[in-house]
Structure formats: C-alpha cells, structure tokens
C-alpha cells in the first residue's frame, strides 16, 4: 500500500474515532487536540487494526500520537 493511501485512510479513521474532521493534509497530533483522550486513543487503535488488518504492540501505543507517526508505524507493520 502506498504511503499516500495509508495517510488518507488514517485520516479517515481518526475523523470517525474522534468525531472531528481531520484535515486531508498537514500535521494533526494528539497534543493539539484535547478530544484525543486515552479512551479515544484506544478506540482509534481498535479501528486502525481493523482498517489495515495489523496488530500493534503495546509499546507502539505511545508512539501513535500524530497522523505522521501512525502512518510510519502502519507502514512498518504492513512490511513486517
């Protein structure tokens, strides 16, 4: 899967999980969006695992704090 496609699907998933429109381009991080709390974070992880048919490790969870980080992680998981 191409990075652009992963990026698009990550943003769609976050939009659904956070109930907030994530812009199609540019940075989007947990730090800047207070609604991205720990419960939404778990829900987002559940949805991303479904979306990409991957499983993240517990150690990955803190590293998933922005669209860019998630895209990189998904790429890694898909390559594994």
């Amino acid at each position: 899967m191409k990075p652009a496609e992963i990026d698009r699907r990550v943003r769609e998933t976050l939009t659904l999980a956070l109930k907030k429109q994530v812009p199609p381009t540019g940075g989007f991080s947990r730090e800047e969006n207070p609604e991205w709390d720990s419960l939404k974070h778990v829900e987002m992880i559940f949805m991303l695992e479904d979306e990409f048919d991957v499983q993240f490790a517990e150690d990955d969870f803190p590293k998933m704090s922005s669209v860019a980080e998630i895209v990189t992680l998904v790429e890694t998981r898909l390559e594994a």
């Binding site: 659904l16 720990s38 974070h41 829900e43 559940f46 949805m47």
Partner: protein
C-alpha cells in the same frame, strides 16, 4: 387523487424504503466479526423512529468502547440510543435525577476486595436501592471469568435477581466462553483501563443492542415466516424438482435454527409461490431438517405473497408487527412490507449461514429462556378448532361455556407478572380500549402507586391453559370512582364470549382490594377509549357492555350498580378464583 390518499401512499413508500434500507446494513450488523468503522458509518445512515432509548450505565470500568457501537445496533432495530455513563464508581452511588428506559450495572468485579459471596450480597442491596429509585428494567453484567468462584457468584446473583422485579443478568461468562482467549486484550489494560478485546466489545455491543435491550423494552416477536426457494433451500422447487433443490450443510443449519425458534415458542410460517402439493412432498421427502409439524401455518400458492401473509396472520391471530418475514427476493420483501404495515423484514442471503447468523441476533427474537406465554400461545391455537367444533354442537351459549369447563383467575397488582402485563399493553391490537401502550416503567408505576392498580386475568378451559390473557390498568379515587385507563385482552382469549365476565371479575377484584384497605368500594366505572386502526372489536364490545354509543366520545361512564352485566356474570358457568396461580404446581 385526494390529499389523504397521497399522504397514505407517501407513508407506505417511506415505510417500505425504511424497511429495505435497513436490510442493506445486514452484512455490516450480522457479519461474523463486525468492524467498528463500518458499524459507525452505518449508524449515521440508518433510519430510526421514535424517541431514543435512554440507557443509564453505572460502572467502575470503561463502557465507552461498547457505547459508541450501540447506535449502529439499536439503529438496525429502528431506534436511536442515548447512553449516559456514570463516573468510575466502585461504590455504585446511583445518580438518578433524569429518567431512563434501562439501567445497566457494569462492574469489573475483580476490583473488589470482598469475598464474592459478600460481594453478591452487597450487589443485591445496591440493586434493591436502584429498583426503589428507578422504574426502568435493570441489567446487570455477570462476572465473565470461568473460575469456580465466578460461577458461584453468577449463580448467586442470578438467584436473587429473580426476586427483584425487572432485573436481568447479562451472561458475559457465556460470551467470554465463546470467545476464549480473544475475550480479553491485555495490551489495553494500561492505556485504556479496559481488559476487553475489540472482539468482546463488538460482540457485547451487538448482544446488548440487538438482543438484551430490545428484550426488556419491547415484546418479543411471535412468528417467523420463511420463503422456501433460495431461502430455506437452494434452488427453485418448481424448476429443479425435489431432488434438485439443495439442502447442504448451510441450509440444514438454517433449518435447524428455524426448529430452535419454534421450540422457543415462536410460530413458524411458510410463505411460498409454489405448488402446495410439491411443497408437501418436499417436506415428506425426509430431506428437511425443519419438519412439517414445526410449521404452524403455510400459505403456498401462485397468488400475491402479501395476501398469503395476511392469511397467515389471521390464522395465527397476530398482527403484522409481530412477524418477521424472511425472503431472498427484495421485490417480494417490498411488496409484503407495503401491504403489511409494521412487518419486520430479513433479506435471505445467498449464503444460508449468513441468514442463520442474522436470525441469531435479529431484534425481537431473543428469549431469556423458553417463554411460557409463547408455548401457551401455540397450544391455544392448536386447540381452537376443537373449541369451534364444541360451540357448533352445543345448544346455547351457557351450555357451550359450561362444557368448556372454564376457570378464570384474577389477581390485583401481581408484580411478578410485570413483563406479561407490559406485553399485553404493547401488543394487543384488536382488544385494546385505549391504546396507551404502557412501557415497563409505566407498568411498574401502576403496580407501585396506591391510587393505581393492574389487574391480571388468567384463563384455562378443558382444552388448554391460556395463561395470563388480560390486563386492566386502572386509577381509583377516594370516592370509589374507577377509571379503566387501558383494558387489553389477548386475541387468543377472544371468541369464547367471556369478555364481560373478565372485566366484571377484574372490577370486582379491585373493589374488594380497596375495601380491604379501608377504602370505599367501587361505585362507578369510566372507560378511557381511543379509536385505532385495529381495535374495533374492543370498542364494539364496550358499546354493548355500556349500552351507550361511543361516537365522538373519549370515555364512557357507567354505574357499577345500574348495569345488569355484573349480576349476569355471577350466573355464568365459570369457576372464579382469586390470586396469582401457584407456579410451583
């Protein structure tokens, strides 16, 4: 075309569209492992009606991962849902300012230091407190662990839950057993404070939204009517012949599910465009897992399926809104939905196992065990022909009643039968005088309040035990004036000519209860009335009973002493009994 015709046609179109639109979400809702994102997208597009279900959750661990999925499943059932979740609170300090349609106690029992037997006792006390503060059904999530201690705890809470009205234990242990290691996801403990896996969240949300909540908020459906070709078997009987149609493992499993539904007390119907002789031969061929004796009624012809459905509903004496119709042809589903208001639809998938999965979860089919009322309904229907034959051979109405050997039992405020009283209010169409459609909390309030009463009537005759077949909800004032807010009689009990007797016995029972409590006896009775699309039989009866024209009236009043019905009833050959039946007999 008149405005009213246009409006009626428009409503029919909307109804059919909504029913078919909902069918589009079957693959999302009934999937083996439903996906959260697909469910959440579907929720936004599903047609719903009526006020949202208000679910109040009292918890000490996250419920949010389930709550966000409930709109999808409740939406499929046609309802919106609003979930209000308490703070994390091990002490269960209930906050009950707003009203709720259902209460859910959602606890992680491993957080408590108490021995489980003491925890059960504490939970019982808390549930009793909640019962006093809320009239809504209470659902309690069981301990999901498979340990002996957890099993003993679950057995304990299940036992005391029977003694508190409208309390149900959600068998999380069974879900956990089904999912095995997939029930928990240890990765999430730290980050989300939940131990549940996504599979567990989705499975529990589906069970809650499609099975558990509908079962405590609405009466169960009464019948499932199946098409045959490409629904209960693969292929077309008229073209492929009895040896050509496919009953492979998938169709056999689907037919077994139909048998399970029949055994759980539902009527099973068959509605097919075929030659009846061919269908009869197919059932006699030995290939069917669904035997003909499990099929309560069948309508097989080349006519319109809507007409066949109407015949089945008439034969079973039930409304369309109590029926689920399963067919592989969307056109047939649309035609039946158009002509049969309120009927529920399930599109039979090309893979019969998908249809089987849908029947496992379809809203309104779930039962907490074999329902005695459902079983009595089947027996009553089966013995109806015998009653008709008896009527034709007896010389008079009194002889007929005498030969029926009727026994009528009346109880005032039988709290243990709250659920059945609720069912009668919700589901009776032909004999319902005021169409109030009381909710579970409404019925609970009637049972609690000193100025209101719910009267239940049980009926048996020589052919069958019909069970609790009538409910009368009344208000009484200090002067002995009784208002019948709603009178509903199951259509199973109609046709024996004993409606007067039931009502008089119910009024007498209320009067006796009031006088025993030091209040004045009942002197006058006012019946609230509301004309609906199908309650003509009830209003016709009331007109005759009161001796008054009901035209333009919203209520009708009669003096208890003036009417002859009260005296006449005493002379009828019916054995009248008081109090609830002894369930242990």
């Amino acid at each position: 075309m008149t405005t009213s015709q246009t409006k009626a046609e428009s409503m029919t179109e909307t109804r059919v569209e909504a029913a078919l639109h909902r069918a589009e979400f079957q693959s999302v809702v009934f999937a083996d492992t439903p996906k959260r994102a697909r469910l959440m997208r579907a929720a936004a597009a599903m047609p719903t009606q009526g006020p949202p279900i208000k679910l109040r959750v009292h918890r000490n661990h996250p419920f949010e991962f389930i709550a966000t999925l409930l709109p999808s499943f409740c939406g499929y059932a046609g309802r919106n849902i609003e979930v209000s979740i308490s703070d994390y609170d091990d002490s269960l300090h209930f906050s009950l300012e707003e009203s709720a349609d259902a209460e859910l106690i959602w606890l992680d029992f491993t957080r408590y230091k108490l021995p489980l037997n003491e925890l059960s006792e504490w939970l019982k006390n808390q549930t009793t407190l909640l019962r006093r503060g809320s009239l809504a059904p209470i659902l309690i999530a069981a301990h999901p662990d498979a340990t002996n201690h957890a099993s003993t705890f679950n057995a304990s809470i299940t036992q005391w839950a029977k003694d508190i009205p409208a309390v149900r234990i959600l068998p999380l242990n069974e879900i956990a057993e089904d999912l095995g290691e997939d029930y928990f996801d240890k990765r999430m403990s730290d980050v989300g404070a939940t131990k549940l896996s996504e599979r567990a969240n989705v499975t529990l949300a589906r069970k809650l939204g499609l099975c558990w909540l509908p079962s405590v908020l609405e009466p169960r459906l009464k019948a499932v009517v199946f098409d045959l070709d490409n629904t209960l078997w693969g292929g077309v009987l008229g073209e492929d012949g009895p040896d050509g149609v496919v009953i492979d493992q998938g169709y056999a499993t689907l037919q077994e599910k139909a048998v399970d539904l029949a055994d759980s007390g539902l009527f099973i119907g068959v509605l097919s465009r075929n030659e009846d002789a061919d269908v009869a031969a197919m059932f006699a061929s030995g290939r069917m897992q669904l035997p003909l004796e499990k099929v309560t009624d069948r309508s097989v012809s080349w006519g319109h399926k809507a007409d066949g459905m109407a015949k089945i509903a008439t034969k079973l004496r039930i409304g369309f809104d109590s029926i689920l119709f399963v067919d592989d042809n969307p056109g047939e589903l649309a035609a039946v939905a158009s002509a049969c208001p309120g009927i529920k639809l399930l599109h039979a998938a090309p893979d019969p196992l998908e249809t089987r999965a849908a029947l496992k979860y379809f809203p309104g089919l779930f039962s907490w065990g074999v329902d005695e009322t459902d079983l009595l309904r089947s027996t009553d229907l089966a013995t109806n022909d015998a009653r008709q034959e008896l009527r034709s051979t007896t010389k008079s109405e009194v002889d007929y009643l005498s030969s029926l050997q009727l026994e009528m039992r009346v109880a005032v405020d039988p709290a243990a039968h709250q659920e059945r009283l609720f069912q009668l209010s919700q589901k009776t169409n032909q004999f319902n005088t005021a169409l109030k459609r009381l909710s579970t909390p409404d019925v609970a309030e009637v049972l609690e309040r000193p100025d209101k009463h719910a009267v239940a009537v049980w009926l048996t005759d020589r052919f069958s035990d019909s069970g609790l077949i009538a409910a009368m909800f009344v208000s009484v004032n200090k002067a002995g004036k009784l208002s019948v807010d709603e009178l509903c009689v199951s259509c199973r009990a109609l046709g024996r000519g004993i409606e007067d007797a039931m009502v008089v016995a119910a009024i007498n029972a209320v009067s006796e209860t009031r006088t025993q409590a030091g209040e004045k006896p009942i002197r006058s009775v006012t019946f609230a009335l509301q004309e609906g699309p199908r309650n003509g039989p009830a209003l016709t009866w009331l007109e005759k009973f009161s001796g008054q024209s009901l035209a333009t009236k919203t209520s009708v009043e009669l003096s208890r002493t003036d009417t002859s019905h009260f005296d006449k009833t005493r002379t009828l050959p019916i054995r009248f009994l008081k109090g609830e039946p002894d369930e242990t007999r």
